[in-house]
């Protein structure tokens, strides 16, 4: 039985705007799930409905089998970490951490014990007497995390907790958050628009767009097997090439005058335009394996990115430009600009989308 369940949750604001529509999710105890999507996709609204700050228009929220949909936020036993830290400026770090316990009527000794324990956990032992304004952003967010964990909530919610921090602290703190979550085994929902954060932290990711779930899956599934063009485009970088259907039944396609074949029938009429979606790192210079799809073009640009060299290959006609990422190797020469090259990719790595690359995945490709 799942631990945190959202069933048919919908949020419609006065005026008719639907922020979240038909949201269904079942999370196991101790699972770390991220809501990933662009601004305005409904991820924070969904989180706020779990926290109780917003009431669903329809649908139910259950924690450990108990329906908490109609409970006020202070009766839900859900801890929350905010983007803006939201530490109480008038209280010391220790008082901030112990606030939830004090509100629940815990005795002074147990509050002190738990606060000390959590200060150790977040790596700030002995800093309990400081005030929030005496700490850096990263330290404040750690205190906010400790405060949210102090009263041992059933579910921990994190609303873009690292967005206000600089890049270096963000990376180290996200590792700390994950380590603490694993150690405590607390069921966690993490909202972010940063795909790297979601991919590196989560057991599962819920990709959202315009209030709807696009895909739920492990980071591996989301990245490698996107089920919708939106997921394919939003998660990671993507090459989108233009192609034309030669034979819909056999899945033959024309890519800038070069022929390739989809794995099966293409859900588009012969002569109609389709798009091919390919991850840059899946492409390799040269012919590759015998069963790989091969495409030829001319080198448009070579960009040195340190560990990676990005080669942009322009395909003939109006097929577009493909970026090919290869690891930097000082002993290998990179192709010169305007030279003719061939790149290849495993057949299953290519998604065939409809003409505009928006509506639907119509087939997976294979080599001819």
């Amino acid at each position: 039985m799942s631990y945190l369940t959202l069933t048919g949750v919908k949020k419609q604001f006065p005026g008719g705007f639907v922020a979240v529509a038909d949201f269904n999710l079942a999370m196991e105890k101790g699972e770390f799930v991220s809501f990933l999507g662009p601004s305005g996709c409904g991820k924070t609204t969904t989180l706020r409905m779990i926290a109780g700050f917003d009431q669903p228009t329809t649908g139910r929220v259950l924690i450990d089998g108990t329906d908490i949909t109609d409970r006020p936020p202070n009766r839900r036993n859900v801890g929350m970490v905010f983007q803006a830290y939201a530490l109480f400026p008038n209280m010391t770090v220790a008082a901030n951490i112990g606030f939830g316990l004090k509100v629940r009527g815990a005795d002074k000794a147990s509050i002190v014990r738990r606060t000390t324990e959590l200060l150790e956990l977040i790596g700030l032992p002995g800093k309990g007497n400081r005030y929030p304004w005496q700490m850096s952003g990263g330290q404040q967010q750690r205190v906010a995390l400790a405060r949210a964990l102090a009263f041992e909530p059933q579910v921990l919610l994190l609303d873009e907790p690292l967005s206000a921090l600089d890049a270096k602290i963000r990376v180290s703190l996200r590792a700390e958050i994950r380590a603490i979550q694993r150690k405590l085994g607390i069921t966690t929902v993490y909202v972010t628009h940063d795909q790297e954060e979601a991919l590196s932290l989560s057991d599962r990711i819920v990709v959202m767009s315009e209030g709807r779930i696009e895909q739920i899956g492990t980071p591996f599934e989301i990245y490698n097997f996107p089920r919708t063009p939106f997921v394919a485009r939003f998660v990671g970088t993507l090459n989108v090439l233009s192609a034309r259907v030669i034979d819909a039944t056999t899945g033959r396609l024309d890519v800038g005058g070069q022929e390739m074949r989809a794995t099966g029938a293409v859900g588009a009429a012969a002569g109609s335009a389709v798009s091919l979606a390919l991850r840059p790192e899946i492409l390799a210079m040269g012919d590759g394996e015998p069963d790989h799809v091969r495409l030829r073009g001319t080198v448009d640009e070579v960009t040195f990115l340190g560990a990676v060299v990005r080669i942009r290959v322009r395909l003939p006609g109006d097929a577009g430009v493909a970026s090919v990422d290869t690891f930097n190797n000082p002993h290998l020469a990179v192709p010169a600009r305007d030279s003719a090259v061939t790149f290849s990719f495993p057949a299953e790595a290519c998604l065939v989308l409809d003409g505009a690359g928006r509506d639907a995945v119509v087939a997976a490709a294979t080599a001819i």
Partner: protein
């Protein structure tokens, strides 16, 4: 090559002082003008006080006006009464206005213009109209409050709460603007706190400086208010001051300066507390 080396050497040999800054034209004139305006301000505000002080010292013997007043029990009883009424007014204002301003900001932002308009009404309705309204309404059943001292005190406090509404509400509202009350409230709620705990333990302490500012302004208004106190026949400091103005020459000047001193003391406290809070936010650097 030699020429280049020589030039380099010459550059290195130059005295390492800052180049002379070109004199800013008009700067001395600006400074003189600034001092002139400051002096005018000081004269404008200080001259009446100095005049009052000199006048109070004309009594024979010289300090008798001061000693008479400091030894007059009525000065202290009326001042004490005024301060108690002021204190009650402040408490009632806080209890009434902090939750109102908080709720309007948090949940009813559309009502803000209406609430602000209502809080500004005391500027439009003169105290004389207000007190006549109160006397007319509360001197007969069902609530004949003017019949007793306690009833009149209640009316007095109510009138002063209304009179200080613009200052107190604006002070609290300005304080609420400086803190992220929505997030702080939600953080409190997620930690299990109810509305009273949120207001008492988080919102009020963070509005300390704003509430103090509003409180001292309220106190200054209450201590100096005459019309309402006079018509409700309450022994306030202002009514006593008016009484002695009619009967004594030098003593009222001494009392006026005493009341000024008390008001300045209160303002000093605000400045001190305000500076403390500013230092905090500067060290934090986050907000």
């Amino acid at each position: 090559m030699t020429g280049q080396t020589d030039r380099l050497q010459a550059e290195l040999d130059r005295p390492t002082s800052w180049p002379d800054r070109p004199a800013r034209r008009g700067a001395p004139r600006k400074t003189v003008a600034s001092w002139l305006f400051l002096l005018l301000g000081v004269v404008y505000f200080a001259l009446p006080l100095v005049g009052t002080l000199i006048f109070s010292l004309r009594a024979k013997p010289m300090l008798s006006a001061w000693t008479d007043m400091l030894n007059d029990p009525q000065v202290w009883s009326t001042l004490g009464y005024s301060f108690v009424i002021g204190l009650i007014t402040i408490i009632v204002s806080i209890v009434l206005l902090v939750p109102t301003a908080f709720w309007v900001r948090l949940r009813l932002p559309r009502l803000r213009p209406i609430v602000e308009f209502v809080t500004l009404l005391p500027f439009v309705v003169p105290p004389i109209v207000l007190v006549f309204g109160l006397i007319t309404t509360f001197s007969r059943p069902p609530l004949p409050l003017t019949g007793t001292n306690l009833g009149s005190d209640v009316l007095l406090v109510c009138a002063y709460v209304i009179l200080s509404l613009p200052y107190m509400y604006r002070a609290v509202d300005a304080g609420l603007r400086t803190i992220d009350i929505r997030t702080l409230t939600e953080a409190c709620q997620s930690l299990g706190a109810g509305w009273f705990t949120i207001l008492w333990r988080v919102i009020l302490p963070n509005l300390r400086v704003s509430i103090l500012s509003g409180a001292f302004l309220t106190l200054a208004i209450v201590v100096g208010e005459f019309t309402i106190a006079n018509f409700l026949a309450r022994p306030m400091f202002a009514t006593y001051l008016q009484l002695i103005y009619g009967n004594l020459a030098y003593q009222p000047a001494a009392v006026a300066l005493i009341s000024f001193g008390i008001t300045w003391g209160a303002m000093g406290v605000i400045a001190l507390i305000g500076r403390g809070s500013q230092d905090k936010s500067e060290i934090g650097g986050a907000h």
